[in-house]
Symmetry: C3
Subunit: 138 residues, 3 copies
Amino acid sequence: MFSGGRMYLFRIPEGEEFVSYMHEFLKKEGIETGIVNAIGTLKNPKVGYFLEEDERYKIIELKGTYEIASLLGNVSLKDWKPFLHAHVVLGDSEGNAFGGHLLEGEVLVAEVFVLELKGKRLERNVIEKGLTLWPIEE
Amino acid sequence: MFSGGRMYLFRIPEGEEFVSYMHEFLKKEGIETGIVNAIGTLKNPKVGYFLEEDERYKIIELKGTYEIASLLGNVSLKDWKPFLHAHVVLGDSEGNAFGGHLLEGEVLVAEVFVLELKGKRLERNVIEKGLTLWPIEE
Amino acid sequence: MFSGGRMYLFRIPEGEEFVSYMHEFLKKEGIETGIVNAIGTLKNPKVGYFLEEDERYKIIELKGTYEIASLLGNVSLKDWKPFLHAHVVLGDSEGNAFGGHLLEGEVLVAEVFVLELKGKRLERNVIEKGLTLWPIEE
């Protein structure tokens, strides 16, 4: 169980790579646990689809500019650093939607909400099928 | 109006059915009102599309494994029990997205955030077109 | 940085236009900053796709009834009034998903969560490529 900590609502500058910018932000602010959501527009995003048999992500490279119709993510510790796990839904110029695990994307506009969670350490330290997961709570 | 209560960020074990697991969780924790979001991967999810004329959901059965690109839901009381109403966006192996009302899905991975809301009783006690809805506030 | 303010979870009456209803709600409640999410069903939604070269939104008109598979938004000040910026993912009767910037949509059902953020003034006062954006923080 957690309680609510700091809250942020801000824009990522144009040209930044979304995931690496967020990792810098989380590290700078010292946010180890939390949730993230965002809307905006990304260029040339790459999303992952998990291949259970192969125990790896298939990388889907989308070319061009897409609306971030939704981005939901969480923050926890991985290798002692704050780690963002985010999934996205992206809309193209016809409105068609694509979705998966966000690997990277160049920001045209990104409006991001972060809610810090406080209370206990949440760590990705369980390896299953190539994924680094949280322990299951009893 | 509500104020924020307990917050949770956890993983549902592989093999569980998402909706019934969450109902057990909410009942066990005594969470009657709140919001839920999640990301992860589901197998053989079923989503509903509301048919207004027929006053029922059409069931769309998706076969295989899908990324939970987004899951947004809320918790309120229905028949005196905590009830999760959740919608999902699911991504297939090509990144194509599908969306609707979540009926069920087997968890491969599900990372879930729950925020309890405290303050008043929110109950699904209005039947309109076959849907069980909250009363409209003045 | 913000702290959490009032929280709301409510249903918008059938027949209302989503965006204008929310603007009335935010004004009435005096909510200047916050986040919004929603699920439900919309009729004849219009979504925008940002055309960077043209510095304007292309309008995509969807005919018929769509599940709101996801709606994520934020609230800040624009022209001294609370302004909702929301993106949606919409599901059709086959489960196919469409996404983009929400311009308008008629509510069949909309269950909305609002979290007020308190602490500082967040204002859309930067014009870039025809978009009205928040200043970048240092």
